[in-house]
Every structure is written in structure tokens, then in C-alpha cells.
């Protein structure tokens, strides 16, 4: 993307960037560097004994079949969550924007899940789907469907996908709606002369929505990769038998629960590399299609 019209000031941009850069340097880069340095060490949790081991930690994880299994789970999980959350968000936003009455009511009602803290959301889903005490969990079993996500890996994965997507749909809905409502009315009115609503949406509105879509794609993937571990932790703990152990969950469980800071940091480095790669690809290839 190329800005043709810019302002000529040379010092002002740095001044404008200074606050964010300062905060980022002190509270992100400095601690992050230390955290990443951890990946070439073997150290006890309290930092009393340190051994420098080059890339042993990396070697260990990349040859660990459990790590690779975790990567597979992550791919499946993130893809499903992003797809589900974005398409539903778009659907609801399109419907809410369809010039109907009570848009604000629907908007309010659909925004709720976003307000819920992950720990709380997980306990809500637990409350509903627990095989023994869950309101729906019990009924499913009573109907003869063997619902037990504590032993059935596929069901566990389904549950965490649904719970994670649930929270994210409102987020997408909010932004898609803001984006839709920013589409100039004149253009849509002009198009309605010779195109039905569906065609109008896909040929005119959706491309105009693409900056928002791009933003949400990046954010949703980051969300699915990083911010979902709270939900997984509360619902399945990565189980059963690692069926829901995503890469970020493994980082957390190895670092915080198992206190293996070296391996956990190495995993963070790899994870970071993956996500940077994914977003770089998005910026290069997907953004070309974004209509500014």
C-alpha cells in the first residue's frame, strides 16, 4: 500500500511514535528479550543454577512427537475458531445492518459474550456441558448420546472450539457492524438499482469491508493462537490425553505448571516465529486484495 499524500515533517512522526515506542521498549522488548534468552538455558525455576545449552531445548521440542501433535491440534483448532467466529460475526452484522427495526436491541444482545472474562466464560460452559452436572451435558447423556468430554478427545476439542468461538463472535460482530455502517450509503443505494441484496453485498459491500476483514483475520488468528488458553485450561486442561493441547497451552503448561522455563521459552520462540510468519504472509498477499 502506498500513501501518495503525506506531510513533510521529519521530526513530528518520531514525536508521535515516542510514547508507544517507549512503553514497548521498556515493557515489552526488555522483558521479552530476557524471556527469550531463557530458551538457551537449562535453569531451575528460582534461577539459582543456570546452564547454557545452545539450541538443545529447541532440538528437544522439534523432535518431540508430542510437540508435533500439539502443532496439529493448534492448526485444527485455530482454523475452526477463526472460520466459525468470523463467518458468524459477519452474518450477524450483515443481518443487523439490513435496515431492520430493533437493530440496537440485537446489537446489545449479541455483544454480551464479549463482556465475559475467560475464566468466567469457561465456568459457564462447564456449568452447561459437564457430563454429570451440566444442564445440557446430563440431558445429552440421558438421550443416549455418550457425551463425555473428559474421556472423548473429539468431543473435548469440539467443546473448546465452540467456547472459544463463542467469545470471539461478538468481537467480530462489533467491528463488522462498525465497518458496515461506515460504508457510504450513496454507493449502496446506487448499486441497489440493478443488483439484489446478495449480489450487492458480495460485489460492493464486502470488498469495501475488506480493511476490517483483514484486521479481524489477523486479530482472530492471534486470538486463536494465543488468547484461548484460559478457556482450554478451565474446560479440559489440555486433555484428555492431549487432545486439546494447543501450542500456547503447552507453553503455559510447561512453563507455569511444570516450571520448565527453558523448554517453555523455546516453544514461545517457535510459536512467535510461526505467528509472525503467518501475519507477514497475510500482510504481503492478503493485503494486496484489500481495497483502500
Amino acid at each position: 500500500m502506498r500513501r501518495r499524500v503525506i506531510f513533510p515533517n521529519k521530526v513530528l512522526p518520531y514525536v508521535l511514535l515516542a510514547p508507544q515506542l517507549a512503553v514497548t521498549l521498556v515493557f515489552f522488548f526488555w522483558p521479552a528479550a530476557q524471556a527469550l534468552y531463557q530458551s538457551v538455558l537449562i535453569q531451575d525455576p528460582f534461577g539459582l543454577r543456570t546452564q547454557f545449552v545452545w539450541f538443545e531445548n529447541f532440538q528437544a521440542i522439534l523432535t518431540d512427537p508430542l510437540y508435533l501433535g500439539s502443532a496439529r491440534v493448534t492448526l485444527l483448532f485455530s482454523g475452526a475458531v477463526t472460520l466459525l467466529a468470523m463467518s458468524l460475526g459477519l452474518l450477524f452484522a450483515a443481518m443487523a445492518d439490513a435496515g431492520i427495526r430493533h437493530t440496537r436491541l440485537y446489537r446489545t444482545l449479541l455483544m454480551w459474550p464479549y463482556a465475559v472474562a475467560p475464566a468466567v466464560a469457561a465456568s459457564l460452559w462447564l456449568f452447561v456441558f459437564h457430563p454429570s452436572i451440566g444442564v445440557l451435558g446430563r440431558r445429552l447423556n440421558a438421550l443416549g448420546i455418550p457425551w463425555d468430554y473428559k474421556l472423548n478427545g473429539a468431543q473435548a476439542l469440539l467443546l473448546v472450539i465452540l467456547a472459544s468461538a463463542w467469545k470471539q463472535v461478538s468481537y467480530n460482530f462489533l467491528f463488522f457492524l462498525a465497518g458496515l455502517q461506515a460504508v457510504p450509503r450513496a454507493i449502496v443505494e446506487a448499486a441497489s438499482i440493478d443488483a439484489g441484496p446478495a449480489r450487492r453485498f458480495w460485489s460492493i459491500v464486502f470488498p469495501l469491508l475488506s480493511p476490517t476483514t483483514f484486521f479481524l483475520l489477523v486479530v482472530n488468528l492471534v486470538y486463536a493462537f494465543f488468547e484461548t488458553f484460559g478457556v482450554i485450561h478451565a474446560l479440559t486442561g489440555g486433555g484428555p490425553v492431549k487432545a486439546t493441547e494447543t501450542l500456547i497451552y503447552k507453553v503455559y503448561s510447561d512453563g507455569v505448571i511444570n516450571l520448565d522455563l527453558g523448554s517453555s521459552s523455546a516453544q514461545s520462540v517457535v510459536l512467535m516465529a510461526i505467528v509472525i510468519g503467518l501475519t507477514a504472509v497475510q500482510f504481503r498477499f492478503v493485503e494486496r486484495k484489500v481495497h483502500y
Binding site: R3, I6, F7, N9, K10, L12, P13, L16, P19, Q20, V23, T24, F27, F28, F29, Q34, A35, L91, F92, M95, A96, G99, I100, R104, L110, M111, W112, Y114, A115, A117, P118, A119, L124, W125, F127, V128, S132, I133, V135, W166, L174, A178, Q181, V183, R185, V188, E189, S192, V205, P211, F215, V218, F226, G230, I248, V251, Y252, S264, S268, V275
Partner: protein, 283 residues
């Protein structure tokens, strides 16, 4: 304002209603659960309609039941802490991000791309992963148990910058040209044109960031030992506990409902704001 024409058709209503039902159902069950007693929930015999214990449960959630509330700051104090933290984070993030995005989009300078990626990379390493060294930095700066320590480290991440960049890129060149021709400097252009155009996004972001700040758990837990600095979410998780051994489901659900009230209120109230912004003449 969206698709024009007579479309009070049934399809949108149907889809939205189904959506609302599906999306609100866990919250509905939580509401029901908060009105029954623990035993009937634990035995799975909870009915699908409200029960008689709502008042008792909410009272217990608020006061901690048997007067053992020595361990927490009063709920009011916790709410205040959460409020300052959430507002501080939301405002702080929006303020620094809008400036950075503006710099990156409307100027050309060496290291422009580098700066953007430096900021953007903060998304790739969540705070949970670098929490121990971040704690050390904050501790070294003497910011433990302070509101500054609670908020500033969390405004480092880049979602807002990314969003504003997207929005600013859609501003037509003609507007910038016109401003330059008029002799307006970059800051005037910023205040008078760019910011107003970003209003709906700022409102949406404020909602998102407020909730992000409000729902923070791990960071405040680590940074505060002083009970007076506790936030509502910490208070709530104290009640829920963090393992599977949850016993008082009815109280937990009541607490969850209480925890949701402020963020939901923000969401509802701010909705009004950004709708209002749209009543103005379209750009």
C-alpha cells in the same frame, strides 16, 4: 446507513433471533443457576426456569456469606480499582496508538516500517509468556502495588495501532490534499478530520479495551499484594477457585452475573454513543 429499502423482511430477524438464543444460552443458564440452591444443581435436577434462591445467592455473593470477608477489600473498593484500571488501559492504549498509527500512515521517514513492526510484534508474545521478566522490570521500577504498574505494562500491545492504521488508510487522499492546500498542519488535520472520522472505531475499541482491562486476571494477581489494590475479577476468582473442585455452583453463577454487569453496562452505554456518531451526516 446500511442496506436501504424496505427490508423488514423475516430472514434477518430469524437469523438474529437464533443467534441471540444460541449465544445467550450459557448466560441464560447461568442466570437460572444463580437462582437455585447448590444441592439441586449438583444433583443435576436443576429446572430450566428460575428458582426461589436468587436474592439469597446474590446477597451471599456480595457479602461472602458467613462474615468471613476479612480476606477481601469491600466489593466497592474492588470495583473502583477495576474501573480505574480498565479506563486507564483503554484510554492509554487508544491515545498512544492513534498517534503512532497516524505517524506511520501519514508520514514518510526512515525506519517507518521498522517502527510499525516493532510495535506490531508485541502481539506475538502474550504477557503470560513473559510474565516473570515483566514482573522484575515493574518491581525494579518500584511499581508493584500501584495503579501505574497495573495499567502501563498492558498498554504496550498493538491491536489498536493496527486498527487505526487500517482506518487511516481508507481516508481518501483528496482529503489530505485539501487540508494541505488549506495550509493546515498535520496536527490540525489530525484533530479536525482524522479523529472525527475514526469515531466509531474509537468507540468500538474503547469497549473492547475496557473489557480487556476489566477482565485481566494474571497480571493484577502478580502485581498486587496489597488488598486495597485488588480488582473485582481477582475477588471473583477467589470465590470461584481455579480448579475443577467448584462446589457452590449457585454462588458461582451469581458471582459470574455480578462480574458481567459492569462490562455489559459499558457495552450497552457506549453503543448509544457510537450510534449517535452515525446520526451525523455521512462522510
Amino acid at each position: 446507513m446500511g442496506t436501504p429499502g424496505r427490508s423488514d423482511g423475516w430472514l434477518p430477524h430469524l437469523v438474529l433471533t437464533v443467534g441471540v438464543v444460541v449465544f445467550a444460552f450459557p448466560i441464560y443458564f447461568a442466570l437460572i443457576g444463580s437462582s437455585h440452591d447448590a444441592a439441586s444443581i449438583a444433583t443435576g435436577r436443576m429446572p430450566l426456569w428460575p428458582g426461589p434462591h436468587a436474592l439469597a445467592n446474590y446477597w451471599q455473593a456480595l457479602t461472602g456469606g458467613s462474615g468471613l470477608r476479612i480476606s477481601a477489600a469491600p466489593v466497592g473498593r474492588q470495583m473502583l480499582n477495576s474501573l480505574f484500571m480498565a479506563v486507564g488501559i483503554a484510554v492509554g492504549k487508544i491515545a498512544i496508538s492513534v498517534l503512532s498509527a497516524y505517524a506511520v500512515v501519514f508520514f514518510q521517514f526512515p525506519l517507518r516500517r521498522t517502527c510499525f513492526w516493532m510495535i506490531f510484534i508485541t502481539l506475538m508474545l502474550p504477557v503470560e509468556v513473559r510474565i516473570i521478566p515483566t514482573y522484575k522490570v515493574v518491581s525494579d521500577l518500584g511499581m508493584i502495588n500501584t495503579m501505574a504498574g497495573l495499567t502501563i505494562p498492558l498498554i504496550a500491545s498493538a491491536t489498536a495501532t493496527l486498527l487505526f492504521r487500517q482506518v487511516f488508510l481508507t481516508i481518501p487522499d483528496e482529503l489530505t490534499e485539501a487540508a494541505k492546500i488549506d495550509g493546515a498542519g498535520p496536527m490540525r488535520f489530525f484533530w479536525q478530520i482524522v479523529l472525527p472520522l475514526s469515531k466509531t472505531n474509537i468507540a468500538a475499541l474503547f469497549v473492547i479495551l475496557f473489557i480487556y482491562g476489566w477482565n485481566q486476571y494474571l497480571w493484577p494477581l502478580l502485581i498486587t499484594t496489597d488488598r486495597q489494590m485488588e480488582t473485582v475479577v481477582i475477588g471473583i476468582v477467589k470465590m470461584i477457585g481455579t480448579s475443577d473442585a467448584q462446589t457452590d455452583w449457585n454462588i458461582i453463577m451469581a458471582t459470574a452475573m455480578l462480574a458481567m454487569l459492569p462490562p455489559v453496562a459499558v457495552v450497552v452505554f457506549l453503543q448509544h454513543w457510537f450510534v449517535k456518531g452515525l446520526v451525523e451526516p455521512e462522510k
